[in-house]
Symmetry: C2
Subunit: 155 residues, 2 copies
DNA sequence: ACAAACCCTCAAGCTGACTTGAGGGTCAAG
DNA sequence: CTTGACCCTCAAGTCAGCTTGAGGGTTTGT
């Protein structure tokens, strides 16, 4: 048999066909074989790669990073120093985030407990809890992206 | 004195003037007083609110949520049940994320240690670590947003 | 032979949080 | 009274990661 149609792959992975084509278009997936009439034909390998992509995304990797990792693994190579470096930076970022989140969590939980228990909480409770947080170099929402240029206006 | 010009506020907060106008346009900041010639005039209160916004963002709150919180704090009111609810959901989301991140961190650290130590790591190291991760309902990157519709194709 | 259910490409739209550009007014210093 | 550094509005562009639509070919079943 020629292999799976894009719809079969979609079904097996829980993605949509357009999404799979999109991954191909940005180079995260390689171009698959085509039938004589131009239909994409996939193997189980692609299904596995797509599942991998979903997990890596859930873990905070960008499609760009995932693409790099996949390229390496397709070449059967062991992570080169570049990817090792990437991994180290990820680890630091994740550690920082866990710390920030944990601090935040405790403050939030304390504040909520106050609200829940007594009905006369400190004025502007939620404000104080966030206002008391330290300033961070980078937002939590981002893992590892290049620092946004944030021009501090000079006059 | 009439108050700070938008550029002064920008300088004090590290934001840009367009960003501050943008916050106003989406209702996160209230409309400030205007000079006779139409210039925005701000007080120190706005500077504090903007610093608050930055911190809340870094902690994963969306501008919409921040807007709600600020409105409440401006009214000097105690969190109503709606915001209390919001806070509870945040707490759960934060807990989940800490858990996911911690699991991920340990896997990543283990894998990195392998790579760093021996120079003959398991084939496709990074793949295995991510591939071995559990599937998550929602990506780590999101705090509290509505679950993205991710149509699992039915035929 | 025809319809349903696939497949194709290319282009445009979406969300959130901004940035950038065009076109034009204002204000303080020299 | 002009110059330069501000300010204004409104529209459009940016980025990531997709989704949606238009317009058209293919394959499978009856």
């Amino acid at each position: 048999m020629l292999g799976l149609l894009i719809g079969d792959v979609a079904e097996r992975t829980g993605l949509t066909a357009p999404t799979i084509r999109y991954y191909e278009s940005i180079g995260v997936l390689p171009r698959p074989f085509r039938s004589t009439t131009g239909y994409r034909r996939y193997s189980e390998t692609t299904v596995e790669e797509l599942r991998f992509i979903k997990k890596a995304q859930a873990l905070g990797f960008s499609l760009d990073e995932i693409g790099e990792i996949l390229k390496l693994s397709r070449a059967g190579r062991t992570p080169c120093s570049h990817v090792l470096d990437l991994a180290h930076r990820h680890l630091r970022a994740v550690d920082d985030r866990i710390q920030q989140l944990t601090r935040f969590r405790d403050q939030l939980a304390t504040e909520i407990a106050k609200w829940d228990g007594q009905r006369q909480p400190t004025r502007q409770g939620l404000c104080q809890i966030i206002a008391g947080a330290e300033e961070h170099a980078s937002p939590i929402i981002q893992l590892d992206l290049a620092p946004r240029k944030r021009a501090s206006r000079r006059r």
